[in-house]
Amino acid sequence: MFDLDLWKEILSALKQNRMRSFMTAFGVFWGIFMLVIMSGAGRALQNGVLDGVRAFATNSAFFWTERTSVPYEGFQRGRRWNYDNQDLEYIRSNVAEIEYLSPRLFGWQQDGDNTVRGERTGVFNIYGDYPDYFKIDQWTTLKGRLMNEIDVMQKRKVCFIGERVVETMFDKDEDPIGQYLKLSGVYFQVVGVIHPETRINIGGGKKEETIIIPFTTMQTAYNYGNIIHFFSVTARKGYSVSSLQEKLKKILKERHQIAPDDLQAVGSFNIEAQFIKFGKLFTGIQVLTWIVGVGTLFAGIIGVSNIMLIIIKERTQEIGIQRAIGATPGKIMTHIVAESVFLTLMAGYIGLSLGVFILAMLNKFLESQGDELFFRNPQIDLRMALSALAILVISGVFAGLIPAKRAISIKPIDALRDEG
């Protein structure tokens, strides 16, 4: 029902007190604005982080070695040790819960450049991997192909390189596929240019600066013997990666004479646990956002209620006249509440719009920055916007209720006499 008279009166009442209406509305505006911006920023952080890990198998766990921290079976504490090929074979044939298992060697970065091509040189992160690695941490092929089983079996001297490697080691219009790179003294043929899908980085450095070669090739070509620096596993569907992680730790400790209570020697972590941690963090951020936003909003609402009280006081006589000529208390009450809701909604709407607009601008800016950032798509969803609007209407009603009650508690005769 659209009541033109009601709106006319509301507008003229607000216009008569322009400055005050503005100042009051500002509180509500600011509350909603803050709510939108903070919530959007929190969401952006969440999007950024989740985007960065989405293509990463969430049921994966990682293992590396640290020095032992407990003396055991005649060994001193502080012993250095490594996984080896036999560990992997044992695990492969004895642990049924494993879906993918992918060992890795880190090519040690010597002083100076580890990559040479004619006059060009560079320092890159060189890893020896199995094809299974690409199932745990996804990469896309920009050119050429991805690693396959035959590369590993035949210990082929092939490499897969990131975009930064291409930029550094090749001319702009040069096709890297089929070309050779000398990696720490050994020539490898480039067969694939690859792009990371996730920002989870094992080994540090930029992912675009990665060179991956077959694990077996790395082990033999650089005389690593049968040691393994690191491996990743994923749990089969239906199995918990956390319990798989514990099981593997136990096996590895037994196989390498490490004290069962040595918490340091087998370094490992699982993504699932990290995801849960992140989930809690983001929930925390959202909750905090709402507390602060709603708090600010509440202050704004109190402001509106206050202003309405003052407006009512100034309009006592007018209300008296209206009641003398037949306005019922219900009518007056509706009127004042509608006015308050209107003020709140207007202010809230502007706050909401401006907040969304600024988030959109920020989003545009962030998109132009590429996908390096852990901050992405700062947006609020429809549900959030709707609940903000609902809160506004409800609080508008509450803000109007007290002044409205005050207005109708004044007897019409007293209101008329108010002229003084």
Binding site: Q317, I325, G326, T328, P329, G330, I413, L416
Partner: protein
Amino acid sequence: MIKLNDIHKSYAMGSSKLHVLKGIDLDIHQGEFVSIMGSSGSGKSTLLNILGILDNYDQGSYHLGGKLISNMSEKKAARLRNEMVGFVFQSFNLISFKNAMENVALPLYYKGVNRKKRNLMAMEYLDRLGLKDWAAHMPNELSGGQKQRVAIARALISQPKILLADEPTGALDTTTSYEVMAILQEINQAGITVIIVTHEHDIASMTKKVVRLKDGLIDEVIVNGELADFSSQYAREIQSV
């Protein structure tokens, strides 16, 4: 129409009480034209407000159209006011941000009459009071007499049985006052009971009955025929003071 029986009214003044009306008995019939007189502070407005159900009384009884008016809910009082009573005030009490037509139409708005119909009726009443051309003007663009005519139109539009006017000419010059009184006489001739408060004898002498208040009681009631003498008696009073 109006039956007041031993009406008392006092106002609380801090700890003490100000006894304003001390037992008013008054009958006013349908179609009468009554003026209430008395010195300032004698309780004229108080009495009028009680008649208009704007204020309540402490003791006695008040019947309006056969109905006992006592301890009414605000909602009921508002409805009854809207139905039975039209008000005209000394200071016009027009809503400043509404034009003449909208002011006149306001009581119908509270009755739930749709916009088109009530504006049409408002124009009709403005026309009757010779203000058709001023319909779109805001109150601050009108003269005192015009404002009071708008207020009268507003009081009449809900077709009340009684028109109550508290010093309707108090803020107007003599000529304009007489014009307004002529309008009220016309309204009274149409059958509406008109009750005004005034302290001007010439204004009172244009009504058919004068009720004089003194010390919270009715001092004297002068009716129709005696009104002719009223002015001269008043003149004598002035001289003797």
